[in-house]
């Protein structure tokens, strides 16, 4: 999986978001052991201190926990993950609605359009099969 660091926001925040997304989407399964800070930093091409900061933040969010001797693990508490997933969904929808508002789309318009697009995707699936 690739890491994306864009230019303007703090790098550690971007790392937190991307690791969070990986946990929610199951790339990192609950209870999985994370690589060492150094390896993760190298993989992402970022400074180890920054990666450290991101992981500390994830620990604070309880998505990751550290065991003194054996390293860092993804939380096994599915409720925490579920909570994070919901939070992220709420954020994304909020951002989406904000954009739609700028385009001048009303609530109903959006819903209709969404349904239409979803049906379109289903049709595409039929054709493919």
């Amino acid at each position: 999986m690739k890491w994306y660091i864009d230019s303007d926001r703090p790098i550690y925040k971007q790392l937190v978001e991307q690791i969070e997304l990986r946990i929610i989407s199951g790339v990192y399964a609950p209870g999985d052991k994370l690589e060492s800070v150094r390896e993760m930093a190298m993989d992402a091409g970022v400074n180890p201190n920054t990666m450290q900061k991101a992981l500390a933040e994830l620990e604070r969010m309880e998505l990751v926990f550290a065991q003194r001797t054996s390293g860092r693990f993804i939380t096994e508490d599915l409720k925490v993950i579920e909570e994070a997933k919901k939070n992220l969904a709420v954020q994304e929808i909020g951002a989406f609605l904000e954009k739609m508002k700028k385009l001048g789309m009303g609530r109903n318009e959006i819903l209709v359009l969404m349904e239409k697009i979803e049906e379109g995707e289903k049709d595409d699936d039929h054709i493919k099969h």
């Binding site: 660091i5 230019s7 790098i11 190298m42 091409g45 400074n47 180890p48 201190n49 920054t50 900061k53």
Partner: protein
């Protein structure tokens, strides 16, 4: 703990002032970008820290000592010049470094040479400028130094080698050692930096952490640099 500290550090060449009243403290365990336009005094600063120049006024200390034999043993310096003897083979230069620097790790150097497809039996004079720069960087990064001074380490190499170099700096990271990288190619190295120091016309303009800049100013260091040093 501080690895490098300066007090009113000033260096002039004749009438021309290259650095004026620089005060800074660089802690251990950081990767620092020394950023500024050409001729801003970056190289002068690094040469002072490496002990190649003597301050005109003020002082600079490394691990508490003024630059000298003791500090040179702790500092691994990459100059912007290709300083290796042309007639030597890479293996001979490795032996040279091993002889003079007790912290030199031969195995590390040999592995890096292999990674970059450089034959240790090749002579320097048969190599391109870019390859020579890679050899120098390998030598410098193969030491277990406490302070790495890298003057324009990515200037002349191709993007693939640049990524390898940056990776090497990250992998090499140690809590007790700091790395100072002088460059004007900020966008390329921004991700691996903890802190940045902007200098311009010999003066310290700004010293901050990368995330602090991004957090408070909502822009990248590269963006800020372009704004500060707009022509």
């Amino acid at each position: 703990m501080t690895i490098l500290s300066t007090k009113n550090l000033t260096k002039s060449y004749g009438k021309k002032t290259a650095l004026a009243n620089i005060n800074m403290e660089i802690p251990r365990g950081r990767i620092i970008g020394l950023l500024g336009p050409n001729g801003s005094g970056k190289s002068t600063f690094i040469k002072l820290a490496a002990g190649l120049l003597v301050p005109t006024a003020g002082e600079i200390t490394i691990d508490g000592d003024a630059p000298g034999v003791d500090t040179k043993a702790k500092v691994s310096y990459l100059s912007e010049r290709t300083y290796l003897n042309d007639w030597m083979r890479v293996s001979e230069i490795i032996a040279f470094f091993e002889d003079f620097y007790t912290d030199f790790n031969r195995i590390k150097a040999e592995n890096m040479l292999k990674d970059l497809n450089i034959n240790p039996d090749d002579r320097l004079k048969t190599m391109s400028k870019g390859t020579k720069e890679k050899v120098q960087l390998i030598l410098v990064m193969s030491r277990q130094a406490q302070l790495y001074l890298l003057d324009e380490p990515i200037g002349g190499v191709d993007p693939a080698a640049r990524d390898y170099i940056l990776n090497t700096i990250i992998t090499n990271y140690k809590e007790e050692a700091s790395v100072i990288i002088s460059t004007h190619l900020i966008a390329d190295i921004e991700q691996i930096l903890d802190d940045i120091i902007f200098i311009n016309q010999g003066e310290l303009v700004l010293s901050s952490s990368v995330d602090e800049i991004r957090e408070t100013r909502n822009q990248s260091v590269d963006g800020l640099f372009r704004e500060v040093f707009k022509c």
